[in-house]
């Protein structure tokens, strides 16, 4: 007898309205770049001798030949075509990687253009369209680059090439120029995370070695971010670019240039408004904190910016903002804190009373942070009156018992901090509410009068302009 327990009745049969196609993460797909046109003829490469098998004098020439061969591209969507030649290119690339890692004296002036050309041929391509418009980077598997078996080795070669001791930026800068960098930056939109990771290392090396390109790279990253924020909301490599910027900012000299400050306020802060913030928030927050550690005077504009862009409807983002704010508060100077405390705690008071318990909880955790607590204590005469009404109201009303408990602790902390003020606020709480209600009534009355006036004017005007109707 079968002992299989009877499962729950199939949902489909019970309720005809359940979605049968519950969103499933799509299969990992491979996609080729958009550059391939149908190739009719099979590709033939003449096998060359191994570099280690020829004499030292012959090596440079053979090296260049191999670089040229590796500029040939294969169609990886056709899994069965050119198998032999694909394997040959792969092994050649491997050989080249090893060669640039261990050999000495191979880098002649003629090899630079060939190496850069080989890399350019392979990596620079138009990225294919994203498979679906509603690609959700958190849910869906990314599209993977089909030619990765070759591409990976090309990137590896390039990184080793840039890192090689013999590499001379002064010679290479003729070939690795602004146009090269621009194309490199465009590739950061690749959906393949492996490729973006390689690109990150490449760009980092270039930024490190080519001083003349630094300003240009920063400016182009600026443009990518601005376009991302204000035009497309789509760019895969934001997190990677921010990671590079994190270390760039770390190296900024003091005092900060106006250009860098502008970047912080006009580019990094607006990045907080993007829908997909969760994908790069950690890196973004790191950059922001880096800036503030360099230059505490920037705290005020940064916090004002965050408050301006504070999420209105997305609780998940609100939690991220609160997390970032805590990171900032961890490094804030007391003098800066005093400047923004009023605006800041008006927002925190709204968060504390959020009906979404995660938001309220995240905000209430601030009171577990010793440094923030000490700042609040020093300024309790300003902060307590701002916070009091929300805390007092929510302590009685919040649906979530955990929040009520946290609020109780916060109230207790305030009471211990400044009991005189606390009692005073508790005593006047009701009167305050009355006063607010009256103000609200006055507003309504004002607007009623204004609208009446508008109506009267409209009638007057139409009387004046319309011809008199004989009665």
């Amino acid at each position: 007898m079968s002992s299989t327990p009877a499962g729950p009745p199939s949902v489909d049969k019970v309720d005809g309205f359940t979605r049968k196609s519950v969103r499933r993460a799509r299969q990992r797909r491979a996609q080729s770049s958009s550059q391939f046109r149908a190739q009719d003829k099979p590709i033939e490469l003449t096998p060359l001798a191994l570099l280690k098998d020829v004499s030292a004098q012959e090596q440079p020439e053979l090296f260049v030949k191999k670089l040229q061969q590796c500029g040939t591209l294969f169609d990886f969507m056709e899994t069965l075509s050119d198998l032999k030649m694909k394997e040959y290119k792969r092994s050649t690339l491997n050989e080249l990687v090893d060669y640039v890692t261990v050999s000495r004296g191979y880098l002649t002036e003629q090899t630079y253009p060939e190496a850069v050309k080989m890399v350019s041929y392979n990596i620079f391509r138009t990225l294919p369209p994203s498979d679906s418009n509603e690609f959700d980077p958190e849910e869906d598997e990314p599209t993977l680059e089909a030619s990765w078996p070759h591409l990976q080795l090309v990137y590896e070669f390039f990184i080793r090439f840039l890192e090689s001791q013999e590499f001379q930026p002064s010679v290479a800068k003729k070939h690795i120029d602004q146009k090269f960098v621009l194309q490199l930056l465009e590739l950061f939109d690749s959906e393949d995370p492996r490729e973006r990771d390689c690109l990150k290392t490449v760009l980092h090396r270039i930024y490190g070695k080519f001083l003349g390109l630094r300003a240009f790279i920063r400016k182009q990253i600026n443009n990518i971010f601005l376009c991302f924020v204000y035009e497309t909301e789509h760019f895969s490599g934001v997190a990677e670019l921010l990671e590079i910027l994190g270390s760039i900012i770390n190296g900024f000299a003091l005092p900060l240039k106006a250009e860098h400050k502008q970047f912080l306020v006009k580019v990094l802060l607006p990045l907080h408004t993007v829908k997909s913030l969760s994908l790069f928030h950690a890196q973004l927050a790191y950059c922001i904190v880096q800036f503030l550690e360099k230059e505490p005077m920037l705290t005020e504009p940064v916090i004002r910016g965050l408050l301006k862009f504070w999420p209105k409807t997305c609780s998940q983002k609100e939690v991220m903002f609160l997390g970032e704010l805590e990171e900032i508060l961890d490094v804030i100077e007391p003098a800066q804190f005093v400047k923004i405390q009023e605006h800041l705690f008006k927002q925190i008071s709204r968060c504390v009373s959020s009906p979404h318990f995660q938001v309220a909880e995240r905000a209430l955790y601030y009171w577990n942070n010793e440094y923030i607590m000490s700042l609040i204590e020093e300024n309790s005469n300003v902060i307590l009156p701002i916070m009091f009404a929300s805390l007092y109201r929510i302590s009685k009303e919040h649906w979530n018992p955990a929040i009520s408990a946290l609020i109780y602790n916060v109230l207790k902390a305030f009471m211990e901090m400044n009991s005189t003020l606390f009692d005073e606020l508790a005593a006047t709480y009701k009167a305050e509410r009355q006063r607010e209600k009256k103000k609200e009534k006055d507003r309504e009355e004002l607007w009623r009068q204004l609208e009446e006036l508008e109506l009267r004017r409209a009638i007057q005007n139409s009387d004046a302009s319309a011809p008199a109707i004989p009665t």
Partner: protein, 589 residues
């Protein structure tokens, strides 16, 4: 204007400004949205001297508030004292046009464009044009992008020296070093070309167009394609080849699929703009390539244009071009690997039959239609079926009926209810074209099966479908074929099916007429008044209210009235409510 000035004692500006400064964003937003009321209270003079300076100085707010402000100011001309004073609105709008948030900036530009028309030519040169220049040479990219949208509104109304300056500014922005500004300029290129004198179109615009179309960023290049349409329309035919075509050819073969997509998407407009000769020589091969593009996005965009492109081909030679150059590509698309491509093609391919005539349709197109009717993707099949009327005009639908039927049956049972819904909507059309006999034999059972679908939307659509069928085939057909089946469901154990009977009666009574309704439907409905399920009972009440007007007064009084009166004393609140409503609407009390 009587009472144009506000009463100072009643509305001190401070109180009003307090409203605009309210701490609560929502309240602030509400106040800004009623800015005209505030301005009215202040009167024109104080609006100009106090309100506008305040607004100009305090532009640092939530983008939502700024957006509302930018919109309001576009309608403020009368509130500042009419066209004579309209330039007072420029300072706040200028600040708004430099804001980062795109929607705010765009709205500010829209308002500026609007009020530019209210400036006198003198004011335009004294106040408006300097503003455009300031924006065009602003430090941050936002002001420069805004400037791009303002050139074309002032150009036609200023002196020739100022015109030359404007052209120069536009030229500078087209080669700006931020791509955002170049994009803005490229997107306004066509609009700007339209207000320029022809000689400047040839000398200035063409070089800008060529430069933008070979920009290093594909997002700029693709915007040049859009401009291409306007520019080609402006130029005389003999100049097109030399001035426009090299760039257009290059765009159609651009290495970025986004640019090629744009060409495909604008193909009909381009075709009209360049005229028949160039179409024959250049656009036909270009279109072939787009239909064979390596990116599905591009192929789908091109496939969408197949019918329109063919329709607009010059009549002499049209058939040859289609048959020898385009049809082979179209044939390949029928078996494309991408369903969006096939689906795009299926939505237009039937249109080719009117262009090619009966013989070609039967010989060449019919096999394609049949193949698409068997396509694995339901959208493809559906798109073919939804365009059947085009073929019907040319060859009659019967040619297709053998393949049509399995396709319809399969769609009718598709697992996705939206697909089922879509096919139901074509039933009346199909029934009309296939005739009553074919319908009774093959499709009737499908129509009845939908009545017991497990999705309400399908049952509802099936009910409406029956009504349309009766409109086509007449009451007698209804009485013989569908009414018995519908009424049979009144005894179904499932209350949802019993309710379906009532819904069908609701929609059928009018088209079936008094006789059928009184003799056949009414008795069944009345019997259902004692159903155990309250939902059925109150639907009986609703049904009686609905069919009441079709019945004669005798049966209303002797049969309907007693039943409704009984229902009006039902235990269930809703049943009572609807019974009472029916009694009062039918005036039976």
């Amino acid at each position: 204007m009587a009472g144009a000035d506000g009463d100072d004692s009643l509305y001190p500006i401070a109180v009003l400004i307090d409203e605009l400064r309210n701490e609560d964003v929502q309240l602030r937003l509400n106040s800004i949205k009623k800015l005209s009321t505030i301005a009215l209270a202040l009167g024109v003079e104080r609006t100009r001297t106090e309100l506008l300076p305040f607004l100009t100085d305090t532009i640092y707010d939530e983008d939502e508030v700024l957006l509302a402000l930018a919109e309001q100011l576009g309608n403020f001309t009368m509130l500042v004292g009419g066209p004579e004073y309209v330039h007072c609105l420029l300072p706040p709008l200028e600040s708004l046009a430099t804001v980062e948030e795109t929607v705010v900036r765009d709205k500010a530009v829209e308002s500026l464009r609007k009020i530019s028309q209210e400036h006198s030519p003198v004011d335009l040169e004294v106040h408006f044009e300097p503003l455009v220049k300031r924006l065009a040479s602003g430090d941050w990219f936002t002001s420069r992008t805004s400037a791009c949208g303002l050139f074309s509104v002032c150009y036609p109304r200023v002196s020739s020296t100022v015109k030359a300056e404007i052209r120069q500014h536009f030229r500078t922005l087209c080669s700006d070093d931020t791509p955002m500004v170049r994009r803005a300029a490229a997107s306004k290129l066509g609009e700007f070309a339209k207000v320029l004198e022809l000689e400047y179109v040839k000398s200035d615009i063409i070089s800008l167009f060529t430069a933008l179309a070979s920009d290093e960023q594909d997002s700029v290049r693709l915007l040049a394609v859009e401009a291409c349409v306007s520019i080609a329309t402006l130029l005389p035919q003999e100049d097109l080849e030399a001035l426009v075509m090299p760039t257009l050819r290059q765009a159609a073969e651009d290495k970025s699929w986004r640019v090629r997509y744009m060409v495909a998407d604008k193909f009909s407009e381009l075709q009209t703009a360049v005229g028949p000769e160039i179409t024959k020589n250049d656009l036909v091969p270009a279109f072939q390539n787009l239909l064979k593009d390596c990116e599905a996005e591009v192929r789908a965009a091109a496939a969408n244009k197949v019918k329109e492109f063919c329709e607009n081909l010059p009549e002499d030679g049209r058939e040859t071009i289609i048959m020898t150059h385009l049809l082979p590509c179209v044939k390949e698309l029928v078996t494309d690997t991408n369903q969006h491509v096939k689906s795009a093609l299926a939505s237009v391919i039937m249109g080719l039959s009117t262009i090619l005539g009966k013989d070609n349709t039967v010989e060449h197109l019919l096999p394609l239609f049949l193949a698409q009717l068997k396509d694995e993707c339901p959208e493809v099949r559906l798109n073919i079926i939804s365009n059947l009327d085009c073929v019907n005009e040319v060859i009659g639908i019967r040619q297709l009926s053998q393949s049509l039927l399995p396709a319809i049956v399969e769609l009718a049972e598709d697992a996705k209810w939206r697909v089922r819904l879509a096919i139901i909507e074509y039933m009346p059309l199909l029934a009309g074209q296939l005739g009553v006999e074919f319908f009774d034999e093959k499709l009737n059972s499908l129509c009845m099966a939908w009545l017991v679908d497990h999705v309400y939307a399908i049952r509802e659509a099936a009910t409406t479908n029956l009504k349309k069928l009766v409109e086509k085939f007449g009451p007698e057909w209804a009485q013989n074929t569908i009414v018995p089946k519908v009424l049979g469901m009144a005894h179904d154990p499932n209350y949802l099916h019993r309710m379906t009977t009532l819904f069908c009666v609701n929609s059928l009574s009018e088209v079936c007429g008094q006789d059928i309704t009184t003799k056949h439907m009414l008795p069944v409905v009345l019997k259902m008044a004692v159903d155990q399920v309250a939902n059925v009972r109150f639907n009986v009440a609703k049904c009686l209210q609905k069919i009441g007007p079709v019945l004669d007064s005798n049966s209303l009084q002797t049969e309907v009235k007693p039943v409704l009166e009984k229902l009006a004393t039902d235990q269930d609140m809703d049943v009572k409510y609807f019974a009472l409503e029916a009694i009062s609407v039918l005036v039976l009390a």
